[in-house]
């Protein structure tokens, strides 16, 4: 092969590999920079001045500035406890012991209308300490997050308040007690 052609092909292949690998590593699918707790994931160093270029790039590439890691922890998942992808064809039961964080929320994103379904600590109804939320396309009694024409539904669990996060967080030695998401039924 002509050296000029070899050079061009090598540069093209090299640049393509370099750019695609960089883009992949700054997505939420990246296996290297997300912390995983069962099926829950988070970007632990978001907003930290000592964050690495990949975690930093993940946020600012979207034009967003990450909340400081001492203020908020955001966990997300797109699978149930059995490892199946969340789908609008099924109903799921999310349950958790009421978190001690000063503020927390559970939301569902990915619906076709774009608006996330949101429940905060003030919204949920619970008897005792256990909070149960049903994720379903059909209306449900009690706490309900609607899945609506969602190609890839995703559940977010957010804990606010630096003190609580420091005391309970993954690096604080405590247990965050992340919610379980069990499949109840499918149509």
């Amino acid at each position: 092969m002509n050296p000029s052609v070899r050079f061009a092909v090598s540069v093209l292949v090299g640049v393509t590999l370099g750019v695609f690998s960089a883009r992949y590593l700054t997505t939420e699918q990246s296996p290297f920079f997300t912390d995983q707790y069962g099926y829950w994931k988070n970007w632990p160093v978001a907003g930290n001045p000592a964050s690495n270029p990949y975690t930093h790039a993940k946020f600012i590439a979207n034009g967003q500035v990450p909340e400081h890691f001492s203020e908020v922890l955001t966990f997300y998942r797109d699978q149930d406890d059995g490892g199946g992808k969340l789908t609008e064809d099924c109903t799921y039961l999310l349950s958790i012991e009421r978190p001690t964080a000063r503020r927390w929320s559970i939301s569902l994103t990915g619906n076709a209308d774009g608006d996330p379904q949101l429940l905060t600590q003030d919204d949920v109804i619970s008897i005792g300490r256990t909070v149960r939320v049903l994720l379903s396309a059909a209306p449900q009694q009690g706490n309900w997050l609607r899945i609506s024409n969602a190609a890839a539904p995703r559940v977010l669990f957010r804990l606010y308040d630096g003190d609580t996060i420091t005391a309970q967080g993954p690096n604080g030695g405590g247990s965050l007690g992340l919610p379980s998401v069990k499949r109840v039924s499918c149509s």
Binding site: S21, A22, G47, N48, H56, I60, E67, R102, L118, G162
Partner: protein, 185 residues
């Protein structure tokens, strides 16, 4: 033949590494900078802007259904910046970022001295007299916070709870009385 092939494989790998590093180090920062420029063109500089849907500023809001966002792009080349903040009696944070998205300073409702305070941003060590004068200008030094940014440009982001109508109303009322301007204006 084998050494020629090895050379081109090595060349390809090194090109990939170079492209990877260039992308990670420069492209996201440039995208962020472009976003800030769009906000600046729409909302101006050294002024507080609410990130309401449909504006460039709204693009910075990662969780708009949970929080109300207000931001102030700053340029300290003409002098320090003053944020006169009226904050609601509920969860909020104030964070200062540089134009590369790095965190410079963070404050929340539990750390703030009062429900009303002034935050001064200086890009370098200020004249101590200037700090005293700035503090006196708002009545009490307890209400005044000084931050050395180490950079002339960046963005102040205030996030406030807005997960229900009551919280959203409190946030809107407080932020309506919050301002961001050059300290000597």
């Amino acid at each position: 033949m084998t050494s020629t092939r090895a050379f081109w494989i090595l060349f390809t790998v090194l090109t990939a590494i170079a492209a990877h590093l260039c992308y990670i180090l420069f492209v996201p920062s440039q995208q962020f900078h472009t976003r800030l420029e769009a906000i600046r063109a729409e909302s101006g500089i050294n002024t507080l802007t609410m990130a309401v849907p449909g504006t460039q500023a709204a693009s910075i809001a990662e969780y708009p259904s949970e929080l109300t966002y207000a931001l102030c792009l700053f340029d300290l080349s003409s002098g320090p910046l003053r944020v006169n903040a009226r904050v609601p009696d509920q969860y909020w944070t104030l964070e200062v970022y540089n134009t590369r998205g790095g965190t410079i300073y963070t404050l929340n409702d539990k750390q703030a001295p009062r429900k009303q305070f002034s935050l001064y941003l200086y890009d370098d060590d200020p004249d101590p007299e200037a700090i005293v004068n700035a503090a006196n200008s708002v009545g009490s030094s307890i209400n005044s916070i000084t931050v050395l940014t180490g950079t002339q440009t960046g963005v102040v982001v205030i996030r406030s709870a807005a997960a229900n109508q009551l919280e959203a109303a409190r946030s809107a009322e407080a932020l309506k009385n919050t301002s961001c301007s050059q300290a000597d204006s």
